[in-house]
């Protein structure tokens, strides 16, 4: 009887301690952590807005790729449409392909397609239903960029530049990283933070 009492007490104390730990930490956003710089990303497959499947590997250029999480409705992402398209044009010739991913559950594939047409986005845009790839890469906002080299190794993760308004750009972080990658140098600034819209995940 005494043994049972001690066991019950022990289990109860574990439950209390576990509960206190959860309660004490407060409610935080349960966001997956992004892969560390230097990690080789696993290949994945996603459909484009027409339903055609593409793998990350098949879309990666001879020098690498830029994955950018984008949105149709986020004004910050939209402020970068022209810059992203120019980026895709400029670096295609340098062996780096831009890949857009839309993970917002509020923006269906048809909307992604019409948005790309209206905004003249010619790079491949994939639809990440269920935000599986956003979860895998720990992406939280739009726009948010990931640069991989030809072998799929992550060399940059963060913002495109420091300012939504082109007149205020003083730090072209993503382009700087791509230039270093193309010229075979190690990327010196591997990330950067900027304000953006939260990715609308499935609840």
């Amino acid at each position: 009887m005494k043994k049972h009492y001690a066991l019950t007490l022990f289990l109860a104390s574990i439950v209390i301690v576990a509960f206190a730990a959860v309660a004490g930490s407060g409610s935080t956003s349960d966001l997956p952590a992004p892969p560390a710089i230097g990690t080789t990303l696993d290949d994945f497959k996603l459909p484009d807005a027409d339903g055609a499947e593409h793998s990350l590997k098949s879309l990666t250029g001879k020098n690498g790729a830029v994955i950018i999480f984008i949105a149709t409705k986020c004004p910050v992402s939209n402020a970068y449409n022209d810059r992203m398209e120019k980026l895709a044009q400029d670096y295609k010739a340098k062996g780096i392909n831009v890949i857009g991913i839309n993970s917002n559950n509020t923006e269906p594939a048809a909307e992604v397609k019409s948005h790309a047409g209206e905004k003249h986005l010619t790079f491949t845009i994939l639809k990440d239903d269920g935000n599986k790839i956003a979860d895998r890469l720990g992406a939280t906002r739009t726009p948010e960029a990931y640069v991989i080299d030809a072998g799929g190794k992550l060399v940059y993760h963060g913002r495109i530049d420091n300012a939504q308004n082109t007149a205020n750009i003083t730090s072209n972080d993503l382009r700087d990283a791509l230039d270093e990658l193309v010229s075979g140098k190690q990327v010196s600034k591997t990330g950067g933070a900027a304000f953006g819209c939260t990715i609308k995940r499935v609840s």
Partner: protein, 236 residues
């Protein structure tokens, strides 16, 4: 008698029309506006006369592009078919802060033992607009128990236009500051090394300045209220 009634009705209609014309300034919905110019708040007159809650369409500007949101929805452009009227803008008492100002808020006054709630938002952010009514309610309920600072990341050109118009529409009374920094990165890192700048973001600090709750995206009000209740030791 009927003649007098007719004169009264005609006078009333004319009076109302002139009154509204004096109060409102007609503006084309899709008019191009130069950068930095004060932007008006648009109200749907038909719905206003019917005394329904006014669906305010706010125009903001991002990277040189106009962004419209009406009834919490971002729209590409204001409906051209609807008459749009520019109302007098409310006077702004929103303070502009820089990185040092932000650090001062985060450092807190050591004599102040109340928990601190900080919400980062912008009028262009749909999640921010979605959660704002809940934050206004929380401010109303906990005003005498916690400090609450609302920090907007709108562009400085919006400090006397879109931002106060939005706050007025929300009936918000909490202190609001506009963070104006050329590079957002140092400010984001000053708040939280794990935050990458996704908006909205909400932080609750205890009396010692320790983060006891943080949430990225539109808050779940019950969760935030529970966290506040734990700090203040009671429900409002």
């Amino acid at each position: 008698m009927s003649g007098r009634l007719a004169i009264f009705v005609v006078s009333l209609v004319l009076g109302l029309s002139f009154g509204l014309a004096a109060f409102a300034q007609v503006a084309p919905a899709n008019a191009a506006r130069p950068n930095g110019q004060a932007l008006p708040v648009y109200l749907d007159l038909k719905r206003l006369i019917n005394c329904k809650p006014p669906p305010i369409c706010v125009v903001t500007r991002l990277g040189g592009h106009p962004v419209y949101f009406c009834d919490h929805q971002v729209v590409e452009a204001l409906p051209v078919a609807q008459p749009c009227f520019s109302f007098a803008r409310p006077e702004s008492n929103i303070r502009e802060i820089d990185l040092e100002g932000l650090k001062k808020i985060l450092q807190r006054d050591p004599k102040d033992t109340r928990p601190l709630l900080i919400n980062f938002w912008a009028t262009w952010c749909d999640g921010c607009r979605e959660e704002f009514p809940d934050l206004v309610k929380i401010d109303n309920d906990y005003r005498d128990k916690i400090n609450f600072v609302s920090i907007t990341l709108d562009e400085i050109t919006e400090i006397k236009t879109t931002v106060p118009a939005f706050l007025k529409a929300m009936k918000a009374q909490m202190p609001v500051v506009l963070l104006n920094v050329k590079d957002p990165e140092p400010a984001i890192h000053a708040v939280d090394a794990t935050w990458d700048g996704a908006l909205p973001a909400t932080y609750l600090y205890d009396k010692d300045g320790k983060v006891v709750f943080k949430y990225f995206g539109a808050i779940k009000p019950a969760e935030l209220r529970n966290a506040i209740d734990k700090q203040v030791g009671s429900k409002p």
